[in-house]
Symmetry: C2
Subunit: 387 residues, 2 copies
Amino acid sequence: MQNFDYQTPTRLIFGKDVISSLPDVMKPLGKKVLMTYGSGSIKKLGLYDKVKELLANYEIYELSDIQPNPKYDPSVLDGVRICKEKKIDVILSVGGGSVLDCSKAIAAGATYEGEPWDLISYKVKAKAALPIVDILTLAATGSEYDCGGVISRTETNDKIGYVDSLLFPVCSILDPVYTFTVSKKQTAAGCADAMNHIMEQYFTEDTTLLNDGFCEAGLKSLMVNAKKCLENPEDYTARAEMMQACTYGCNGIYALGNSASGWPCHGMEHALSAYYDITHGEGLAILTPRWMKHILSDRTLERFVKYGVNVFGIDSSFEPYEIAEKAIEETYHFFESIGIPMHLKDVGIDESRLSEMAHHIAVNEGLESAYVPLSEQDILDILKASL
Amino acid sequence: MQNFDYQTPTRLIFGKDVISSLPDVMKPLGKKVLMTYGSGSIKKLGLYDKVKELLANYEIYELSDIQPNPKYDPSVLDGVRICKEKKIDVILSVGGGSVLDCSKAIAAGATYEGEPWDLISYKVKAKAALPIVDILTLAATGSEYDCGGVISRTETNDKIGYVDSLLFPVCSILDPVYTFTVSKKQTAAGCADAMNHIMEQYFTEDTTLLNDGFCEAGLKSLMVNAKKCLENPEDYTARAEMMQACTYGCNGIYALGNSASGWPCHGMEHALSAYYDITHGEGLAILTPRWMKHILSDRTLERFVKYGVNVFGIDSSFEPYEIAEKAIEETYHFFESIGIPMHLKDVGIDESRLSEMAHHIAVNEGLESAYVPLSEQDILDILKASL
């Protein structure tokens, strides 16, 4: 077991109608608010009006149109500019993980004199950040309970996971009802994203019995509940259980004391969505079974057997390699069963830039020190197998 | 699924030699320290000298001789007196859960003008508390990651769980090596305590798939690792995994969104150890299977079947009641197998005061609103069955 240093100070207020807590949560944080959101679905939900009503006596500025795979330019830059110009006290992120990720980069950039990219690219360590409160409308990324955000810079095909302990939200307001209107496509992609967060932490060394059990519970809960959400989008319990299982995805609690895994599928997927702007969860779902197949070996066999037996209920009396291969197939079939396109070609990626992406990943993602080290050739093989 | 409002801000620094972080942790908290500890085992461990060496430039006052089932008088009162007289900035708890529980009551009492019992008995809500840092030497209570403490008042046979969000430790320093010298008796009792924390949260309604899986993982980890610790007290991995599984016991994460269970075994055990000062974990282990037997019914059957199949691996094709009864037997036998005396008579409790204790429990513990409501007669029946 590895040493660890862990802290997640975020307050979670979870359940039906918990939006009513918003004024109490915001009270100590200041009167000048930057409200960040995406394409306007929060207006259809009535959430935009509700926030305005609850915070009637606040000075609210807005940054809208934050896209999935949130962009440094214009979103982060615009947000930082508003924060500086208006002397914003607190950021209120209303939306999914992309809005929140973008808000985190803005929160750090707002207190920094230089280019925000210095912080995101780890050239400079932030000294402070504005406080963030979020109201979540999509179960997926776990950004509501971690201190990281992923920011894309289109002109350089960079997609960087920016992590700093200053960036934990003060409070995340999680009402599963706000996820009722999430489309089937996004529900499935959210499930795949959250499952991959767990797999990235499960497939490594030095795991503990407790962590393995937590991970297996997370995976099983996501698979059962995502299916229920797809069948009945207004199944409160299923939406709530899915939201809960996603929440712990990236704050480390699934893997305290495990060896670092390097998060290889995320490393590879970041290039896919940086180059092609595809849906992150779909990219992960496509890559995961191919990566699994690529790394299956005597060294990793035990992990795959445990995964197959405990997550998919495969009979433990089968031969180990049979269990492992079946587990990889089941992974593929589960993603397929929730409607995810399972080939890169299905999401608009052909062979033309695979080598370029493999090179970009190899140079930028540090996957030579992943659980199973991946060279540029390994990465290219996985990408090709994913076509 | 129930609504919840959850926050655990404590920082966990976990692993070999993490004591070296102590100066950095203490730095922002002030120079006047009350160091609290128990019977002196920290001196044998070398921990007392290590702390003095690491905090050489601090003004350290001491409160020693804090007992298991820590006492309001003299420990809490003495600690509060020292804090007020010496204008203590921060409490450093070095020891097990009892020392830490006592330190929490002191931390609250130190900033309150009146009798500390007003706070502990919930007559008055604390407005502030001194910061607490702890170095843990026993895996059991989970106090290192929660905001509660149990305090006993001998003259009234009161043993109260005092909970206030002000009382989260700022930081818990968890080095499994410090638990190598824990006796077999205390290792087993710690395991039983931690297991019961989980069972109290598992046996209730409205549980989620994720929570059930977390609880089952916790129970299995504790059973496997406690046995290893008993066989080889210096098995680092086993001590570390046990410490990890205990840590989450009482901060709520095993049951976010579950219905309140009322923690019935703890309610009953508090009277046993208040009247007889027995080891808390042993009291819990004795009561648990008798309580289980008492509450097994058509209403609770599903829980016991799930527990039996997922925790003990009982064949799910058996009849449900057969699985449930077997699960209760396995619970009893597990505790017996780790050397816990499994009858009240074995720990010095005879029938003479059972009725008095049952009455005390019924009046003070609110178990009429537990998962399965317990009347005074129910409680007496469980105590009698535990003789």
